[in-house]
């Protein structure tokens, strides 16, 4: 009651804090303020956190998961939930790339070959989802299929190729002091956001995600949309696979499994990246910019804790808590928006 009375005062309303109070529920504001205090305290007290070198480390750390997250965001925004086959698509792609490289086809041909594999993988899943298949079931099945093919193809062995192999520029190269992977992440994030905001395809993604019936009524079927968005997600997975393989000059089917990230499984980490940024799981609301920032946010929290000397257990816990926290806050914000409407 008193809160409402306070926010009615025009002088007080001029402050940023009270504008937030006016727009969001007090619970949201308190949670965000609490988080901001903890976050800023962590940043200021972490040794060597506020340095250019560390900033670059954070972005570089976020890059691979962020690129996959951007791809997955298209699927989520279009109302097709998630692809649970992200890491298996990457596993299949990394084996395809490494086998092509180890057979001496060169970077360009190996890249094209891998992308073809990824496009087929994406289209296959998209077609099944577009025909009415449950995305969870379809992509779980696809995950097994892709991982099985990759395991069989590589005979479960590490596939390596010797340096120099022509792909070092992507895996380990840098430009103006920034790793090329970081630059690729930034470029992909900008391109994806432009596509979503300013192209008819982007508007269709939001339309079909928000209201499939309305999309159908205007001639935009989910069948073609599912194929397109799943293909984008697959291609992003393949790009990450190629970049990682180029960095370590080898490939193994398990490179994207438990060994990827202190948060464990790559697919879960990518989904967390999409969710932590407040994208709607039901589709129609969110952006790839949010996902990019989500990846950077997770990386920042993890980085800060390393600098504070925490080992992996507390770090996984903290990242998990941040994800739960973000989901709660965004859910409250969206519920508030709907109430206002």
């Amino acid at each position: 009651m008193s809160m409402n009375a306070a926010t009615n005062d025009p002088e007080i309303r001029s402050t940023l804090f009270n504008r937030m109070l006016d727009r969001y529920s007090p619970l949201v504001v308190i949670l965000v303020a609490l988080f901001a205090v903890v976050f800023v305290y962590g940043m200021v007290t972490a040794p060597n956190f506020l340095t250019v070198f560390n900033f670059k480390t954070i972005i570089r750390d976020a890059a691979l998961v962020g690129i996959m997250g951007i791809g997955l965001t298209f699927v989520t925004l279009s109302g097709n939930f998630f692809l649970l086959s992200m890491k298996e698509t990457a596993a299949l792609s990394i084996i395809a790339f490494a086998i092509a490289m180890s057979n001496g086809y060169g970077f360009e041909l190996a890249f094209l070959f891998t992308m073809c594999v990824a496009v087929i993988a994406g289209m296959l899943q998209g077609a099944l989802i577009g025909l009415g298949g449950n995305p969870i079931v379809v992509t779980l099945g696809a995950a097994g299929l892709f991982f099985g093919i990759a395991s069989w193809w590589s005979d479960n062995l590490v596939v390596s190729f010797r340096r120099p192999h022509g792909a070092e520029w992507l895996g380990s190269g840098s430009f103006l002091g920034l790793p090329n992977i970081t630059i690729a992440f930034i470029l992909i994030a900008i391109t994806a956001e432009i596509v979503l905001r300013y192209t008819s395809f982007g508007r269709q993604v939001y339309l079909i995600g928000a209201n499939r019936a309305a999309g159908r009524a205007t001639g935009h079927e989910n069948f073609s949309m599912a194929i397109k968005t799943c293909t984008i997600a697959s291609v992003c997975s393949a790009f990450v696979a190629i970049a990682f393989s180029a960095q370590v000059s080898s490939a193994h089917v398990n490179y994207f499994s438990s060994e990827f990230g202190s948060s464990g499984d790559m697919t879960i980490l990518v989904i967390a990246t999409v969710m932590v940024a407040g994208n709607s799981i039901m589709g129609g609301y969110g952006s790839t910019l949010r996902t990019s920032l989500g990846a950077i946010f997770i990386s920042t929290v993890d980085n800060m804790m390393v600098l504070h000397g925490f080992n992996s257990g507390p770090r996984v816990l903290a990242v998990g808590l941040m994800i739960v926290f973000s989901i709660i806050v965004f859910a409250l914000v969206r519920r508030g928006s709907r109430v206002q409407e």
């Binding site: 040794p47 060597n48 340095t51 070198f53 560390n54 480390t57 570089r60 750390d61 691979l64 180890s102 991982f147 395991s151 479960n156 062995l157 590490v158 596939v159 390596s160 190729f161 010797r162 340096r163 895996g171 380990s172 840098s174 790793p179 990682f244 960095q247 370590v248 000059s249 080898s250 193994h252 089917v253 398990n254 490179y255 438990s258 060994e259 990827f260 990230g261 202190s262 464990g264 993890d302 980085n303 390393v306 600098l307 080992n311 992996s312 257990g313």
Partner: protein, 345 residues
């Protein structure tokens, strides 16, 4: 048409006759049967271990069935129940638990059948040692100690050449993993009394990606103090760490000297001088040793040694091409066959 049918009938009958004639003889020839519970062949190290047990079992005349789990103790427990429920018990169980503590119940169930159990890869503890007749696997302490000695050697050479700076960063296994404590303590003992000084330790996780990520954060944290040596608890982690150090502007082999273990990383890094050395841990030998111990136990009713380690020799740029170990099958294996990382090509 009828001629064809007759021909097929005769051929089938002949095949059955031959098969029946040879089957009992084949079964009688076998020395015994083994069931192995272990992780997935999709993991490079375990893949080579499975190759080792299968090939050696065949060579020694054992029947072997391998049950793989996806690093999941619940799945492994279920496999144990299935095998026990089937009622056809082997002569020996090989037990590589996904989680030695959580899997204790299954180990107890295997022991209750009266079939002897050989534990693999994870050292026996107070709880499970009464259920097994022996252990075959790596010695985490020895390989870490050897890595420490190699780093000491490199540090002494650096000092002799007028070099300065002996700060060490450690790229660890997860601190909750059993091998961490054994490895770090043995490594610290090995470098004690030298100029080497550990200034940072990060445990991002297993594998190259985690090695890269962990090292990148640790570099940001301790860069000001100077980084001169890096110890990777295995070569896969170290491979990622070396990439992070290179991206941070360090010249490997000159600014920073890297030492790893396990031999599951990148051979070319050693050849190029970016990694000073590693200590070999051969999964193929681990598999072969397991079958050798099974044979010894079935022949004599006991093992000469309860704990049986695989060898962990040091490998450097100078010795990489000449390193070879004799397998428990009598054959001589070169480095490419012994290691489990990007070494085969």
């Amino acid at each position: 048409m009828s001629y064809l049918k007759k021909a097929i009938g005769v051929a089938t009958a002949a095949c059955l006759t031959v098969g029946l004639a040879f089957a009992p003889a084949s079964a009688q020839d076998k020395k015994g049967s083994i069931v192995s519970f272990n992780g997935p062949a999709g993991e490079a190290y375990i893949g080579r271990f499975i190759k080792g047990i299968k090939e050696t079992a065949e060579l020694k005349g054992f029947d072997i069935k391998v049950f793989e789990n996806q690093f999941n103790q619940a799945e492994q427990d279920q496999q144990v129940q299935q095998v026990l429920a089937a009622g056809q018990l082997p002569d020996v169980f090989i037990w590589w638990p996904s989680d030695a503590t959580a899997g204790l119940g299954s180990l107890r169930a295997l022991h209750k059948t009266g079939v002897p159990v050989l534990k693999i890869n994870q050292l026996p503890n107070e709880q499970d040692k009464k259920y097994i007749f022996g252990y075959a696997g790596p010695d985490d302490r020895l390989r870490a100690r050897n890595a420490g000695y190699m780093m000491r050697e490199a540090a002494a050479a650096k000092k002799a050449n007028g070099g300065e700076g002996f700060n060490v960063i450690v790229l660890s296994y997860p601190h909750s993993y059993g091998g961490y404590g054994l490895s770090i303590n043995a490594f610290k003992e090995a470098i004690a009394g030298s100029d080497l000084n550990i200034i940072g330790d990060v445990d991002e996780g297993f594998g190259q990606a985690n090695g890269y990520k962990g090292a990148a954060k640790l570099i940001a944290s301790v860069k000001d103090q100077g980084i001169h040596f890096v110890y990777g608890m295995d070569d896969a982690i170290l491979t990622g760490g070396i990439k992070a150090l290179e991206e941070a502007g360090y010249t490997m082999g000159e600014d920073v000297i890297a030492v790893g273990t396990v031999c599951n990383g990148d051979k070319q890094l050693i050849e190029e001088g970016k990694q000073f050395g590693t200590t070999l841990q051969s999964p193929l030998h681990e598999g072969q040793l397991a079958i050798k111990l099974v044979e010894e136990y079935l022949d004599t009713g006991k093992l000469e040694n309860y704990i049986n380690f695989t060898p962990n020799p040091a490998v450097t740029k100078e010795t990489i091409e000449t390193t070879a170990l004799q397998g428990y099958d009598g054959k001589l294996y070169g480095i490419n066959e012994l290691c489990s990382g990007a070494w085969a090509q």
